[in-house]
Symmetry: C2
Subunit: 318 residues, 2 copies
Amino acid sequence: MKEKIIYFLKEAREGYVSGEEISRRYAVSRAAIWKYIQELRGDGFDIIAVPHLGYKLVASPDKLLPTEIQYGLKTQYLGKKIIYENMVNSTMDVAFRLGMEGAVQGTLVCAEGQTNGKGRLGRTWSSPKWKGVYMSIVLRPSLALTQVTQLTLLAAVAVCEAIQRVSGVAARIKWPNDILVMNRKLAGILTELSAETDQVRFVVIGIGINVNTPLRLLPLTATSLKEETQRKISRVELVQEILCLLEQWYERLQKEGFDGVVQRWKELSSTLGRRIRVVDPSGDVEGEAIDLDGMGGLLIRNDTGLVISKTAGDVIDE
Amino acid sequence: MKEKIIYFLKEAREGYVSGEEISRRYAVSRAAIWKYIQELRGDGFDIIAVPHLGYKLVASPDKLLPTEIQYGLKTQYLGKKIIYENMVNSTMDVAFRLGMEGAVQGTLVCAEGQTNGKGRLGRTWSSPKWKGVYMSIVLRPSLALTQVTQLTLLAAVAVCEAIQRVSGVAARIKWPNDILVMNRKLAGILTELSAETDQVRFVVIGIGINVNTPLRLLPLTATSLKEETQRKISRVELVQEILCLLEQWYERLQKEGFDGVVQRWKELSSTLGRRIRVVDPSGDVEGEAIDLDGMGGLLIRNDTGLVISKTAGDVIDE
C-alpha cells in the first residue's frame, strides 16, 4: 500500500493529492492513509500535508528502496522482484541462497551497506553504508559452463555504459571485470554460479560501485563517481540504468551471440594493446594484450611471439 | 563409543572379547558396554554373548554404516568424514548444502535410499532402499571452470574399475558419464559445482549404482550387479573400492594432469569408434566418435569430414 501511495504522489508531480482521492482510488480509510503517510515519512520521504489541498511529495529519501528503483523502470524482468536490505553480510550470499531456493530470473538483491562485501578470489569490497551501489542479480541463462565468463564481460559493458550515461564519467574496463578511471578502481563485477557440468542452474552477477563514497572510506587505489564529478550522483538512477542496459545486452547475447558484446567490450577496454602481465597461480604470462578469444579469455602475445589465452588471473601493468 | 566397540570386535576376528577387556581399554563400565551392545544389535549387528568368554561379532548388517565403510578404508581424505542417512531426498542436495557450509574435501554423503535421486539434466535416478549405492562426495579442486568436466570422466574411470574389482563385471563408459553393461545402465555419475568464474569453490560428485537391485525396481534399460553376476555384491566393499580408486585418480590428476585419465577413459569407453548422434538443445551432431579433447569434450567427425567437439548432450547409437 505504501508503494501505491508513493506511486500516486509521484504521478501528481508538482500537484497535491487529496486524502479523499487516495481513499477512493484504493478503497482505504483516510485514517489508514494518514498512518501510511506517517510511516513513509519515517522511511525518509518528505511529504507535506496542506489542509484542503492534500499531500505532496517534496523529496524521496536517498535510499535504494524498491519503490524508487521500480518507479519508471523500463525492463521486462530485471529488477521486477527486489529484495532490499539495510545492511547485509554480502548481497552475493543473499542472492545465491535465493537462487538455490528457485528465485526467478531477474531477481535483484540490493543493500545500503555490506559488512562483508565480496570481491574476486575471496577478496573484500569496501561497502560503506548509503554511499555506494551494492547489488546482485539472479540470472538463469542457457549457457554452457565454459560460456559463463561471457556474462562477466557483458556486465562490465552494461555497468560502464550506465556510469557514462548517468554521471558522464568515461570509465574503462580492465580485464576481466574491473571498471577504472585513470587506473583507479571505480566498480567491480563478480560472477558466481551453481551448475551441473552440462547445465548452468543459475548465475549471480554482483556489481559494486563507489558512487558517493568519500575517498577516506576507500582503498588507496580506488575512486568514486562523486570524486570524479565533484557532485552527488543518484544511486537510484544508476541502478535503473544498469538494469536497463544489462537486460538489453543480455537479450542481445541470447539472440545474436557473443560477438556484439566482445566488440563493445573492446571499445571500452583499457587492457587491449597494452604491455601487461597476468598473474595467476597456474602460471604468469607477460606480453602484449592483443585480443579476447571467443570465450572471453584474454589473448597475450609473449616475447617469443607465442599467443597464450588466459581465462583467470590479475592484470598488472608492466 | 559404539564405533570403537565394533572396531575392537572386528579386530578380534574369530575370537571372543570379554566385557572386561573392552571396559579396561575404553574406561567404560561393563553395564554401559552391555547397553551399547544392545544398541548395536538394534542397528543390525549380530553379536553373541557367551558367559566367561565374552562377545563375538558374527555378522554386520547389510547397511552402508560409516563404521563399516571406514573399517579398513585405505584413503587419506575421501570418506574420512561420512554423513550417513537412512532415507534422503537426494544425497546431492545434502552434499551441496554441506559444501556451501564449508564441508572439508572428501566429505561423503551416503544413504540407504533416495526419494528423489537425481540424474543428469533434471532426470531422476531410481534409488530403492538397501539395494544400491547412492553417494555424493565433496571435493575442493584447484581447477578452472572449464576443467570441471575432467572430474566427471575421472569418476567414471574410478567407478568402472571399482565395479570390475569387486564384482568382476566388465562395465564400459558411455560418454560422458554413464556406466553400462551390454548397453544397459548400471551406474551413473553426476557432477555439480559452485564457483566464481575464475575459481571453483567446490564440486559434488554423485555416484549411483544398481548393486543388488531387482530388475523390477529399475527402468527397462537398466541392469544391476546382482543381475549380471547372479550373486549378492557387498555394497560396503564397493564404496570402499570407489573411494580408494577415486582418491588415487584424483591425486594423479592434480600431480600429472588430465592425460592419464583420458588414456584410461578411452580404454574403458564404449563410445569411441562408434557411429553415434549427440542430441543436445544447442544442436545435434551425427558422425563417428573419434576422440576426447583436452577438456573432456567428445570429438565427432561428421559426414562432411568436419570434426566437432561436444561438451554436453546425450549419445544415441545410430
